[in-house]
């Protein structure tokens, strides 16, 4: 194998210093624009124009019919003259030594491996952090903030409220969430609330109360940090229904019909300074009993459509950190 050689004819146009002069002139203009437009720029213009003129003249010599001086072809590199054909690398005076028998790792093989290996290392150094940046942030620093839903007195005992709030008020509408909240009254002297997420346990559409929603009694509350809470009294006598694929739940969130795989998720809560504060959501397989006496089968928060009990739970052994 030999490199293809360019023709033996002279290169045209030949080498010339004028382009360098032209470039210097342009550079002079650019520098002059910053330093002193009145003095340096004209000098640059003169240099550029003069060099440009001579450059154009020399470049068009051939076309204007002037004789072009014979230019020596570039030398350097292995000259392929007709006299001597190329000497293969493994022959001649400076021949590469034939690999000894038993030499299992010749240098060419080493260089090949080194090129591939180094290339791989460089490629890895670039792509691994990039892919990590793409994937890891989705799993870190997640979690649910505590949301202050206002004073306890707003939640009339025994009354359901469609409660809308912002999970992250600064993120805007995209963090709007809805929960169905009922004050169950005191249980062993402690306040008891049922707080059901409206996220359908089928594929995450918003479930709606099966019963009248008293829009005319809507209460709007302003919270801290731009939090806005909307409370609408409702009577979900028929439980909840999902508009997307028809999943039906009873008033405690147990699945009664349709595709959902478990009961509706719920939120933990706390009472802080007389305010109801929403905690982390969790998943529920089913609920026995009602109101403050309900027995809730509680599981770690799991995505919609994923089983938390029954044999199917082996399909979802791990949940991303939330």
């Amino acid at each position: 194998m030999t490199e293809p050689q360019h023709g033996d004819g002279p290169h045209s146009p030949g080498p010339s210093l004028y382009p360098i002069g032209f470039a210097a002139g342009i550079a002079c203009i650019l520098v002059g624009l910053i330093i002193s437009p009145k003095v340096v720029v004209p000098i640059g213009v003169v240099i550029a124009v003069v060099s440009g003129f001579f450059w154009a003249r020399s470049a068009t010599k051939e076309f204007r019919g002037e004789s072009v001086g014979a230019i020596e072809p570039e030398s350097g590199g292995p000259r392929e003259s007709a006299a001597a054909p190329a000497v293969p690398a493994d022959r001649g005076e400076s021949a590469m030594a034939e690999p000894q028998t038993g030499e299992r790792f010749p240098r060419s093989r080493f260089l090949e491996g080194a090129t591939l290996g180094l290339g791989g290392v460089i490629g890895g150094l670039v792509t691994v952090p990039a892919i990590g940046f793409m994937i890891v942030p989705a799993f870190k620093g997640q979690g649910y903030p505590k949301v202050d839903l206002g004073p306890l007195e707003n939640f009339t005992e025994g009354q359901w409220f469609v409660t809308k709030f912002f999970m992250h008020p600064d993120a805007g509408e995209v963090s709007h969430r809805t929960a169905y909240i009922r004050n169950n009254g005191a249980l062993n002297g402690e306040p008891s609330f049922t707080i059901i997420s409206n996220r359908c346990a089928h594929l995450g559409c918003p479930v709606q109360p099966n019963g009248p929603v008293q829009d005319n009694k809507t209460k709007d509350l302003e919270g801290k940090n731009g939090q806005r809470i909307t409370m609408i009294p409702a009577i979900p006598a028929g439980g909840y229904g999902c508009p997307c694929h028809g999943g039906q739940y009873d008033v405690e969130g147990n699945r009664v019909a349709g595709p959902p795989v478990r009961a509706l998720d719920r939120y933990e809560f706390a009472v802080v300074d007389g305010h109801l504060v929403l905690g982390k959501p969790y998943s529920v397989s089913h609920v026995k009993g009602e109101g403050k006496d309900a027995l809730i089968y509680k599981y770690k928060l799991t995505g919609p459509g994923q089983h938390v009990d029954g044999w199917e739970q082996i399909l979802y052994p791990l949940q991303p950190p939330h």
Partner: protein, 272 residues
């Protein structure tokens, strides 16, 4: 007299041809691109190919329309939750011809998917996926899947109620895949909940990552089409390998395993 005029004319024509050919030759000498283009455009195909064989290039055209209109829409679209919906209203209602380009992108998406299915049906019914073209079928199926992913990620971008809830359902659907599903869902959302990250994420997937993948796969797909040639329709009388009809065939794929059999309908010479 007439002879002189003709000579003059043809001399001028020769000059003109030389002037036209000069840049083409210049490019060819330095890159070989002209020859490659000729090889691509003027390759031999079976004599009885017909309209059915144009579905592939129709699909390609649909994709190029998507790429072009998408690039232009990206100049006006704002992928953040506060502005996305407004910017699309702006494109549709205010900007000159915005309604047209957005419409082309929206309807063209369906056209692209439908044409992919038609193209696939043609290949299936003609048996064109058989040896030696199985690999191209596999690439095609990958293209179909990636094309659907393009549809899924693009559907969120209008950021209206339909877009939002369809994406909620779509992501949760992915989440129900066994074992890794929950992690896939979090990856798609950019977190545990659809939030500010999700829209920009889908936008990036929709207009950079997935189209890049599609371009690469189309390149492979076309490379294999050129390398293996276009298959004859099943009713073809000059079907590949028919030169060997008078010899007892050792197996069904005999004709294609022997390069000589291809030379009848493939480009002669070249690297074939």
């Amino acid at each position: 007299m007439a002879t002189t005029t003709r000579t003059k004319k043809s001399a001028r024509r020769r000059q003109l041809e030389a002037a036209i050919n000069y840049p083409i030759d210049w490019l060819e000498e330095r890159s070989g691109l002209v020859g490659a283009l000729k090889y691509f455009l003027f390759r031999k195909v079976p004599g009885d190919t017909g309209w059915w064989h144009t579905l592939g290039s129709a699909t390609l055209t649909a994709f190029l329309v998507q790429a072009l209109t998408g690039v232009i829409l990206a100049m006006y679209y704002k992928p953040d939750p506060q502005n996305a919906y407004q910017s699309i209203q702006h494109i549709t209602n205010d900007l000159t011809l915005g309604w047209l380009v957005r419409g082309m992108h929206k309807w063209g998406a369906s056209v692209f998917i439908i044409l992919m299915f038609f193209h696939m049906a043609r290949v299936f019914l003609f048996g064109a996926y058989k040896y030696p073209r199985e690999l191209n079928w596999i690439i095609g199926v990958t293209l179909l899947a990636v094309g659907m992913l393009e549809g899924f990620t693009g559907y969120l971008l209008p950021w209206d109620q339909t877009a939002y809830w369809a994406t909620v359902v779509g992501i949760n659907l992915n989440g129900t895949a066994p074992f890794l599903g929950p992690f896939l869902a979090d990856f798609l959302r950019g977190g545990g909940e659809i939030g500010t990250e999700t829209l920009a994420r889908f936008y990036s997937l929709h207009m950079l990552l997935i189209p890049g993948l599609i371009f690469a796969l189309i390149g492979l797909h076309l490379y294999l089409v050129i390398r293996l040639g276009v298959s004859s329709p099943p009713w073809s009388r000059e079907a590949a390998g028919s030169d060997y009809d008078d010899e007892p065939a050792t197996n069904g794929r005999r004709g294609l395993t022997q390069p000589a059999a291809r030379s009848g309908w493939r480009r002669n010479g070249g690297d074939g």
